[in-house]
């Protein structure tokens, strides 16, 4: 039997409504564990997660997770995937309305014309768009993004950043992004927190006061990048 390994030390932070916060850290530092706890998939041995002041007990559609490998259901069409979160009785909408809502978001992420396609017929980038759209459909308060674009090729990775920001301009969401890609964080986030190696603590925090669209080659962005990499010991 393995002993309990302390993965996360004392991590305490709050995220404002509508804020985009990125957490960067070396691989294996407990980023994903932290995300799983915040999203409600794992329980912390100590401490609490509060959303809107109420203790957050488990996963709920109020905070949707977008992960590296994605979880678009391969047995459902794009439209059926997008409608998945609307299936509950709570939404109580008729099929036609749900389909219309799904198609609206499919169009927003650039999947118009692919509503009837199955995921295996899509490219990696399109699959990621479908996953984002599936999340947006249920209008979550928070998006938990765990290395969302790191399985994509470099070009698609860059394109998806821009796409995400465009959509976030239309649909206001609070975003918690976990990444090892410092530039990705600088490009998108309002605030960047650097995690220390295990047991993870918040080592440093940076406010990113740059207007969008950001240029990573700008002197401010470069300085910020140097500072963050310095914190990571690089």
């Amino acid at each position: 039997m393995q002993g309990a390994l302390p993965v996360i030390g004392g991590v305490s932070f709050s995220v404002a409504d509508g804020e985009f916060v990125a957490i960067v850290g070396p691989s294996g530092c407990g980023k994903s564990t932290l995300m799983n706890i915040v999203a409600g998939f794992e329980r912390a041995d100590r401490g609490t997660v509060r959303v809107d002041g109420a203790e957050h007990a488990g996963p709920s559609p109020k905070g949707i997770v977008i992960s590296q490998h994605g979880s678009v259901f391969p047995w459902l069409t794009v439209q059926q995937n997008l409608m998945f979160g609307l299936n509950g009785g709570a939404h109580g909408r008729v099929h036609k309305d749900r389909a219309a809502l799904a198609d609206h978001y499919a169009e927003m992420v650039g999947l118009k014309g692919f509503e009837a396609s199955y995921p295996h017929e899509l490219s990696g980038g399109m699959l990621k768009r479908a996953e984002l759209a599936r999340a947006f459909v249920v209008k979550p308060d928070i998006l938990y993004m765990d290395e969302p674009f790191s399985a994509l090729d470099a070009l698609m990775n860059l394109r998806m950043r821009t796409e995400l920001l465009r959509i976030l301009g239309e649909e206001r969401h609070t975003v918690l992004l976990i990444t090892h890609d410092v530039e990705e964080a600088i490009y998108m986030a309002d605030r960047i927190m650097v995690l220390s190696p295990r047991p993870a603590t918040i080592q440093a925090s940076f406010q990113v006061n740059l207007p969008h669209p950001r240029k990573l080659s700008s002197p401010q962005a470069q300085t910020l990048r140097e500072d963050i990499l310095g914190e990571l010991g690089l």
């Binding site: 999203a39 998939f41 488990g58 996963p59 709920s60 559609p61 905070g63 949707i64 997770v65 992960s67 490998h69 994605g70 979880s71 259901f73 391969p74 047995w75 459902l76 998945f84 979160g85 299936n87 509950g88 009785g89 709570a90 199955y118 995921p119 295996h120 249920v138």
Partner: protein
């Protein structure tokens, strides 16, 4: 034109093998001048004779009926049971050992018990087919549930769907490809067993036809005709089950 040529290139090698087998068979029989072992032509003639007087169709129909019933019952039992065992770990722990123990027992070993319990009629082979095909399908379905990727279950939990939706939209479609694999295995053993069972106990069916042809006057042409027909129908049954793999909702599992 090119498509036709490609198809031809695909089917030519296996066809050539069959031609060679038949040719060798024919040559050997002709050379040894066997009085009892038939030539390919005699087999075809014998089969034709049975087809014309209708008995061949009766035998095929009887075998297919038994397989259909036994296999159908097995699907009805195995799929819900396998899903339940896969989902509820207490059910798995309780039932898996006994199924694992019953599974390796050849269905042929059940024949005496089948005769004792159900006599010599349609019920015995149906029971044997059921026994033969139910366990592989249970095992396959259960392992299908166990191998559902956690990210899909998490996504379902994330969207807060009800248990009914979880089962209908996630668990069952995720396991469906495994269920189909189980059905292919199940129909394969079912066909194997019906013929074996009919050889021993009954008055109809392809297995009976084979034994009866030998007993009633060494009609080895009909024995071999029966064997070939059994092989062809087995291939056909597998092909029909394979069609299920083409369903659009399960394609994801079989590509790449």
């Amino acid at each position: 034109m090119k498509a036709l040529f490609d198809r031809l290139k695909k089917i030519a090698p296996p066809l050539a093998v069959m031609v060679v087998v038949v040719a060798v068979w024919w040559a050997v029989v002709a050379k040894t001048e066997s009085a009892i072992f038939p030539t390919p032509w005699q087999v075809v003639a014998g089969a034709w004779e049975l087809a014309e007087d209708g008995t061949l169709w009766e035998h095929i129909g009887a075998s297919l009926f038994r397989v259909g019933t036994g296999f159908g019952l097995a699907v009805l039992v195995a799929v819900p049971l396998g899903l339940w065992m896969g989902w509820v770990s207490a059910a798995y722990r309780t039932l898996n050992p006994i199924f694992q123990m019953l599974r390796p027992i050849s269905p042929i070993a059940w024949i005496p018990l089948a005769i004792l319990w159900f006599g010599v009629g349609d019920v015995s082979p149906i029971f044997l087919i059921f026994i033969a095909s139910v366990f592989p399908m249970i095992v396959q379905t259960t392992s299908g549930v166990h191998t559902i990727e956690r990210r899909y279950l998490r996504a379902a939990a994330n969207f807060g769907v009800s248990r009914t939706v979880l089962f209908r939209r996630v668990v069952i479609p995720a396991v469906l490809p495994e269920i189909i694999v189980g059905m292919r295995i199940g129909i394969g053993v079912a066909w194997l067993v019906v013929v074996a069972a009919e050889m021993i106990a009954l008055r109809s069916g392809l297995g009976y036809m084979i034994m009866d042809s030998r007993n009633a006057g060494n009609r080895y042409d009909l024995v071999i005709a029966g064997m070939i027909i059994i092989g062809a129908i087995g291939l056909l049954l597998d092909g029909v089950t394979r069609l299920l793999e083409r369903l659009r909702t399960v394609r994801w599992r079989y590509i790449r």
